[in-house]
Symmetry: C2
Amino acid sequence: MSPTPRSTPTRYRHRARSDRAVLDAVLDAGFLCHLGVVIDGAPLVVPTIYGRDGDTLYLHGSTGSGNLRAASTGGVSVSVTHVDGIVYARAAMHLSINFRSAVIHGRPTTVTDPDEQLRAMRIVVDNVTPGAWPAVRQPTKKELAGTLVLALDLTEASVKVREGGPIDEPEDVAVGGVWAGVLPLRQLWDAPVPADDLEPGVPVPDHVLARIAGSPVAG
Amino acid sequence: MSPTPRSTPTRYRHRARSDRAVLDAVLDAGFLCHLGVVIDGAPLVVPTIYGRDGDTLYLHGSTGSGNLRAASTGGVSVSVTHVDGIVYARAAMHLSINFRSAVIHGRPTTVTDPDEQLRAMRIVVDNVTPGAWPAVRQPTKKELAGTLVLALDLTEASVKVREGGPIDEPEDVAVGGVWAGVLPLRQLWDAPVPADDLEPGVPVPDHVLARIAGSPVAG
């Protein structure tokens, strides 16, 4: 990562992580980001899915999406956050949350080469639905033509992690009697629900079973 | 809600909800939002906590936070998203996620009256750590002076909900053999972890136990 003023935290510096591996881990633990763009001078933040390949974050959506078109012509900010727990402290000001957060800044480029576009879409699909790509019908030329794929370089990014218990004032700890600690929060898959129009006899595929069996994901 | 052009979806209109109760439900199901501001013409999206009281969303943070200062002087976009599951379809283009999403646009006002500031902070605390406020040490005047509290009107907002199974092309369904359905995702509290500096004999309070016993939250 190459720090710039806007990617360098000015507050809570101890929560900042400059290790590129931590950025990758935060991104790879999720599939939903919040994409910020500027439209008519005002900010707009929308949720969207993503995938990462090396130093590039891929986003895609309909060519009819105003948000994605704005992202393709201007700067963006992409934020990925996982909440790991609630931090109960002895003072209102120290109540907090444990989290892992990545914020990426940059100007995405539009992926125009059809092969590269297809590859990028697969990277997003592999992140959101790992293992599904080989099983499903591939995008048609018409579907690809209606899809805008953006590539965002991960160079300008900041990562923050808050973990562990509350950090209280010594005088608040000394008073005693107030419970303090962390209530951990995690995500869990429930049993898969077959589609109403699924024909009988089609088993839940291994890639879905593996997902359920694997460690709970962060979203 | 009073629709404006930017709060009126142009795509996937069937996923839009204009019922104010749905907006409130999406906001009240979570405590983390992604706040978008414009700084030097570029978007910045950061995660932060919030609380709702009637028609107002409250945010707070340090007066030293450049993001919050930008929010207090310009427009903001606040996005709250809950992911409810992964939608497995028969075609790559129809793989999707089930979600509930609210996006609010507006210009927050800075809460300057000390009583109102304290009330707003309690609303945020009550949302993030319900029941904790009466148990913890209240903010001091110095702590309040270092806290910037913003109030954002909920009038200009859009809500989208995607639920249910995949929506595939009839010809893809006809091919058969590909599993389709939803893999539900939810959040779960784990057992509370006492702070290292918690003195022996302080039980986990009822408000934390009630949270664990309650229905799983969306974050």
